[in-house]
């Protein structure tokens, strides 16, 4: 499976590094030269990381993992009002972005209050379009447990956050993340954010393993490149018109106008429409593309 990394090094001989990625079957996602330095974001299969590390050592560069680079994560706040936002939801969002994630903050319409908490079906569908989610739920254990019950039916990996340090029998919970009146800058607070990241990473690794058992017909990064090369997506919503998901992509273009042409994209010897399903997103009229597995297309065992 492809994993995302960041290379930081000198501009001198960085072309050798790019050639090595191309030779190993990887994809250069982004190259940012800055005077004598260069940052290269790339995706590569894991078979030859040791070989690549030797090249990086030779070029005196640095390799940084971007574990969430191919994911879109939803950070769900009970509401968009000032006592729920911006802290700590924005801190979590900002922290995960450092590890490559594309994060979307979702504010629930009626997500406040212990007994009146609601998450609508549409909101669940919006959250389910993501690869993982983080729910930020209040300061009290009883309140969090009541709200957690409403999340039944969500099948994506999610982490619950709240004020109490620990809650019995809730394995996907991280505490000390209740209401905050300021930025989470202290060492203890950063440690808490690290905890959220690690827990999420553990859950996502299980999803990756599951996908690996019945692999996708093509890696999403490859399909993303094919779409970007074959169609002009400029003027899209957001800076990044094609967002990576673990099992597909989000294409930030109106569904009705674009889904037919996107489905005609040539990927390898296939037409994209035949190896994926495209559906209208519940969020901002974008396109959600889910790639079929090798067994579904008839290539696998």
């Amino acid at each position: 499976m492809f994993k995302m990394h960041l290379y930081k090094g000198g501009i001198y001989r960085h072309d050798e590094f790019i050639e090595a990625i191309e030779d190993l079957g990887g994809i250069v996602m982004q190259k940012t030269p800055m005077q004598t330095e260069v940052d290269i974001v790339f995706a590569i299969p894991e078979y030859d990381m040791d070989y690549l590390k030797k090249i990086i050592k030779k070029l005196k560069g640095e390799l940084i993992d971007i574990p969430f680079g191919d994911m879109e994560i939803a950070i769900v706040a009970p509401s968009l009002s000032r006592h729920h936002l911006p802290h700590p939801v924005c801190d979590m969002s900002e922290f995960l972005r450092r590890y490559g994630s594309t994060t979307n903050i979702v504010g629930l319409a009626r997500g406040y209050g212990k007994t009146i908490f609601q998450i609508s079906d549409k909101e669940k569908r919006i959250v389910s379009e993501h690869d993982a989610a983080i729910f930020s739920f209040g300061m009290f254990e009883e309140c969090i447990l009541l709200k957690e019950k409403e999340l039944k039916g969500l099948t994506l990996p999610y982490v619950l956050c709240g004020g109490p340090g620990k809650i019995e029998n809730v394995s996907n919970y991280v505490g000390n993340l209740g209401r905050k009146s300021g930025r989470m800058r202290g060492p203890e607070e950063i440690k808490t954010l690290e905890e959220v990241k690690n827990l999420l990473l553990e859950m996502v690794d299980d999803v990756r393993e599951e996908i690996g058992k019945d692999p996708l017909i093509f890696p999403p990064v490859y399909v993303k490149r094919a779409i970007e090369q074959q169609w002009d997506l400029s003027g899209s919503l957001g800076d990044n018109p094609v967002v990576l998901h673990l099992d597909g992509l989000r294409i930030k273009k109106p569904f009705d106008e674009y889904h037919e042409r996107i489905s005609k994209t040539k990927v390898g010897e296939y037409e994209l429409g035949k190896i994926s399903t495209l559906k209208k997103s519940n969020m901002n009229d974008t396109i959600i593309l889910t790639l079929k597995t090798k067994s579904e297309v008839g290539e696998g065992p």
Binding site: E19, Y51, T155, T293, S295
Partner: protein
């Protein structure tokens, strides 16, 4: 004794590799022996369930429900889908001894479990969860597996579909042992001696294909670098190629890099890799991939292509005609059409295009314009590479040099070079003991005239073949019959052949 040579079965009483195959393996050119360790291995907890709509795979974990599943495999075969809904597919019925309960439980998507229809022990059902749901399935926590492959089948299954077969998944790969043999060893019964790789070429990338065919013209390919993804040959690294069609680099694919510092390198892929426009995919190994997969860098292996190279440069018109005839291709002579005239231009020169057209024309010149040379590959590798690239000998057997300066009163002849390319030509193999006549010299990067190629007609203690002092001169080879060079005029072209 029954053996296989390149996967073809043979019966023999001989036991030495050289007696069986006619090849004596050595350290430089080994063979690989494929030895069966085990034909297959049954995965104990993975089952394939074949239904009338297709096959899906479940991975089970150990508990009493898995034991029940294993004990009742035969009962499960032939079971029909009793009902389906948006959350589940339910096959029934089977007699069970499970305790009935009316409690409800939470099940993840793709979970495999047992349930009781109507809370009746005799109406046991095998339920596959299509999505996460809460249900009263009749048995407490009865999940024992998860669907891992073919999940899309669950959406297709309707009431009335049947389970046709339930079987343990059998994995039939990687149960062979490969040994690299570097001496004339004995073989065992059932061994497969892999002596060569056979290549099937595509027609999408004619230039890259010609490049590859030239590399394997002697039937050998060396591995210079290897990792888990590919084996690479760098003999022709640095040679420019046009960008041609790129394809997916599946396992066994052969590609030629067409851009960057590594252009001209040839890759054999050992895993499936995605396409990249910097790689022109020329073909794939259809037999004998085990050779490049197992040998070490520095070793060679035999390789042959189904598509033959058709290049008549450097041979006589008569020989060219015979080769074309043997390949069933029409031949036309142009230029000097005598039998002994040497072919210097073939049109079309690309093998694939020539074979597609079914016709070639060969332009001949008088043999007096063709000179045999010897190159000092060991003493001046960088300069020889430059010389081969300038003369075109890097990609064909016949080289050509355009005369820059020649005069009867001048004791030497100079040929055109490429100053830009010579900018990276370091001092190498200088003629310290004086210049001998017939030696080929190149002016290196230390001089402003870098890249110029020259030959002297008499020995000199003072200057190199290009008229520079020795420090600025790299000696790359020698003409074997340089006497006729004196007759060559300025502006003309000479042709070169390696001895």
């Amino acid at each position: 004794m029954k053996l296989y040579v390149d996967s073809l079965p043979i019966e023999t009483q001989k036991s030495l590799i050289s007696e069986i195959t006619g090849i004596v393996p050595d350290l430089d050119r080994p063979v690989v022996i494929e030895r069966k360790v085990s034909r297959s291995k049954l995965m104990k907890n993975i089952y394939n369930i074949k239904t009338t709509k297709g096959t899906f795979t479940i991975e089970t974990f150990s508990n009493r429900f898995q034991e029940f599943f294993q004990d009742h495999l035969e009962d499960l075969m032939g079971m029909e889908v009793q009902w389906t809904d948006k959350n589940t597919v339910n096959f029934g019925f089977v007699n069970t001894q499970f305790e009935a309960t009316r409690k409800q439980f939470d099940y993840d998507k793709y979970t495999v479990l047992f349930g009781l229809s109507g809370f009746d022990k005799d109406l046991g059902i095998l339920t596959i969860s299509k999505r996460g749901h809460i249900s009263r399935n009749g048995i407490e926590k009865s999940a024992f597996g998860k669907v891992t492959k073919g999940r899309h089948i669950l959406e297709k299954i309707q009431t009335g579909d049947k389970i046709l077969e339930v079987g343990l998944e059998e994995v039939k790969s990687e149960f062979y042992d490969y040994s690299v043999i570097t001496s004339d060893d004995t073989v065992n019964d059932g061994d497969n001696i892999i002596t060569k790789a056979v290549v099937e070429l595509y027609e999408d990338c004619p230039f890259a294909t010609e490049h590859f065919l030239f590399l394997i013209r002697n039937g050998l390919m060396r591995i210079d670098e290897r990792n888990n993804s590919y084996c690479r040959n760098d003999e022709m690294k640095g040679i420019s190629l046009p960008r041609e069609k790129s394809n997916l680099r599946d396992k066994g694919s052969i590609s030629v890099r067409n851009t960057g510092k590594g252009k001209g390198s040839v890759f054999i892929y050992l895993i499936d890799a995605i396409e990249d426009e910097s790689h022109s995919v020329v073909g794939r190994i259809i037999n004998g991939l085990e050779l490049p997969m197992n040998i070490s860098p520095g070793q060679c292996f035999s390789i042959s292509s189904k598509t033959k190279r058709l290049n008549t440069l450097g041979i006589s018109q008569k020989e060219a005609e015979e080769i074309a005839k043997s390949m069933g291709i029409e031949h036309e002579r142009t230029g000097d059409t005598n039998d002994d005239a040497i072919v210097v231009i073939q049109n079309p020169e690309i093998s694939i295009e020539a074979q597609k057209a079914g016709k070639i024309s060969t332009e001949g010149v008088d043999p007096k314009f063709v000179f045999k040379i010897r190159l000092y590959e060991d003493k001046a590798p960088v300069s020889v590479k430059y010389f081969k690239t300038i003369s075109g000998m890097a990609t064909r057997q016949l080289g050509r040099l355009d005369v820059l300066i020649a005069h009867k009163d001048l004791d030497m002849i100079l040929f055109k070079g490429d100053p830009k390319m010579a900018g990276e030509l370091p001092p190498e193999n200088p003629p310290i003991e004086g210049t001998k006549k017939g030696r080929i010299g190149i002016t290196n990067m230390a001089s402003r005239q870098m890249g110029t190629i020259g030959v002297r007609f008499s020995d000199s203690e003072e200057y190199g073949p290009t008229g520079e002092d020795f420090y600025h001169t790299n000696c790359v080879g020698e003409f074997l019959n340089h006497d006729k060079l004196r007759d060559i005029e300025e502006g003309s072209t000479i042709y070169l052949l390696l001895e």
